[in-house]
Amino acid sequence: MSTWLDHHGVASDRPLARATADRIAADLNLPLPAVQQISAELVAAASAQHEQSGAAFATTLQQLRTTPASVRRPAVLSQLAARANSSEAALVDRLRSELATARSQIGAALEQTPAGDVPGINAQCQKWSAQVDALLVELDRRVATELGPAPAGADGHPITYLPYAVGSFGRRELSFYSDVDFGILIEQDTPAVRDYFKRYSDRIGQLLHAIEGDGGIHPCPDLSPNGLLGAALVDTPEQLAQRLVGRSDDMAQRTLRDQVCIQSALSAARPLATGGAGSALYDRFAATAERALGPTPPQLATDSGRRAALERVGMGLRDPFGVPDEVAHWNQVPGDGVDSGTAARAAAKKFVPLTPDQALAAGRVNIKHDLLRAMQIPLQALHLLFATRSAAGDDVLAELDQRGLIDHHFADKLRETLAACLRYRLLNDRRAGRSEPQLLEVTERDRRAIRRMVPLLYRLRQGMQALSTGDPNTFALK
């Protein structure tokens, strides 16, 4: 039998939409204009390829069925208007527009930020983080409404859950193209809960993709192999704590950098929405983690403290471990809002090498200041190198390889050795009485690794000089 739905073009392979529309026609006896409006909305929902909108709409209609007939029509039209405003297409458009505006404003502010002004850069990172916070909270609400309550736990009530941020997102240090490390804390872990949050994750991913396309905000690929939130990011508080603790236990010899990173990740994990039952989950996580790893050092209790500690272990905005990952992302071609060329140039200026004093201060443990002095140019080159690697990808790597400047083997050694150098710096900090979280002794292996780096850094400098004199544009950031 042909229904009005067919005449109004609602896709016939959308059974839920069809059923909903049929109920509208049968139950409400609406006049044609209202039906047309409903039809148009269902078409939009169907074209957005999610049935859940139909389900949510059916709930609204169920409520309307209990409404007296005299007020039914205006109520329906009012609901339709409200619904139109909050439809997925409108939501996507609105969020996309808000993000573009924020990008434009933050990008412009970044352009005005003087080179080396780390607090200034951080301020912009915080603004962008807040924008992404708001985005995810809104998407969470949307998806939760679509999917309905989470599965029931042992007590028969829907379990509580809490989206949380971690990593640089947790520290509110996002740049435009940073991985957005977020996950879900769940009250109980059951197959039904896993299934629910698989659908939840897919839906969040769909919406992010609709808003941002292939670029822009994306969940951390390391933690979510499919590019969307995966099962691995859905944990009970105990599972999450164990995951972070496990990372540290896996290391035969945990380095200071590892330690600070873990502590910082723990203390930077923060709920995306405060209050409500979900907060108890965060408290459970924090308590479990603290039992396993000991209390969070006071230095890591605040965002600024965490940032300072991470800077010291090479994860800050001025370090090859941190700068390229964060700042290089500013160099990628954004979808809109920022002139990528100008942003790239501005970002390039923000690489701040160690000052001679910093280098000298860093070199007093058996690694002589000459080494750090010798490393000045290489460190700058490395900043550029790592940034270029992050920003432009395989083509630049291939060029470096072709020119004999680097290969993967070299890069791995470089990271390892620089980590050892940073440990020296940290140990020196402790000896100088500067406050620092727990520190490890420097090993003979560290000393060898650093000494071993001298010839390689020397040759890297040679290569960079050769390139810069031969073709000054070779390393222009793309």
Partner: protein
């Protein structure tokens, strides 16, 4: 003033890396095998006196570079070298150093390997494939040769003129 005196005067007067820049340029310019051997011996001795300093590695590099070029000037070497064979030979030399082979003698033995490294086409970071434990001596020597080669390449010198 001969090359050795020149280097002796410049060591300490410049930063280590600048010193090595100048030293490698001088090594590249020298055509006297005996003079280069003198430089290699002096650099090795200097390195051993500075084994806790950055200059240790840079002097070892100079020793390896000077000795390799000295050997290349003295007699032709094969330019087609198997990378694995060369790695094995360098590793073997390091093993013997670890087992007590005297350093100056080891440097003599390194001369041929270094000359082959200098004259043949190998990955620029070939030395990264050398193991690092428990001692780095051969690694530094090989790195010095590669630095000599890298600098020559940047200066546009054909490899056979090294």
């Amino acid at each position: 003033m001969d090359l050795l005196q020149q280097l002796q005067r410049e060591l300490g007067a410049r930063s280590d890396e600048r010193f090595l820049d100048a030293a490698l340029t001088a090594v590249r310019s020298s055509a006297r095998s005996d003079e280069l051997r003198q430089v290699a011996s002096w650099a090795l001795a200097g390195a051993m006196q500075r084994d806790q300093e950055t200059s240790y590695g840079l002097l070892q590099m100079l020793a390896g570079a000077a000795m390799a070029r000295a050997r290349l000037l003295a007699a032709p070497v094969a330019t087609a070298v198997d990378e694995s064979a060369l790695l094995a030979a360098l590793t073997g030399l390091q093993d013997r150093l670890d087992a007590g082979l005297e350093r100056t003698r080891a440097l003599d033995e390194f001369a041929l390997l270094g000359a082959q490294l200098l004259a043949s086409a190998l990955p620029r970071y070939f030395d990264m494939r050398l193991r690092s434990d428990p001692d780095d001596t051969v690694f530094y020597w090989a790195s010095g040769v590669l630095a000599l080669k890298q600098g020559a390449s940047a200066a546009g010198d054909p490899a056979h003129l090294l």
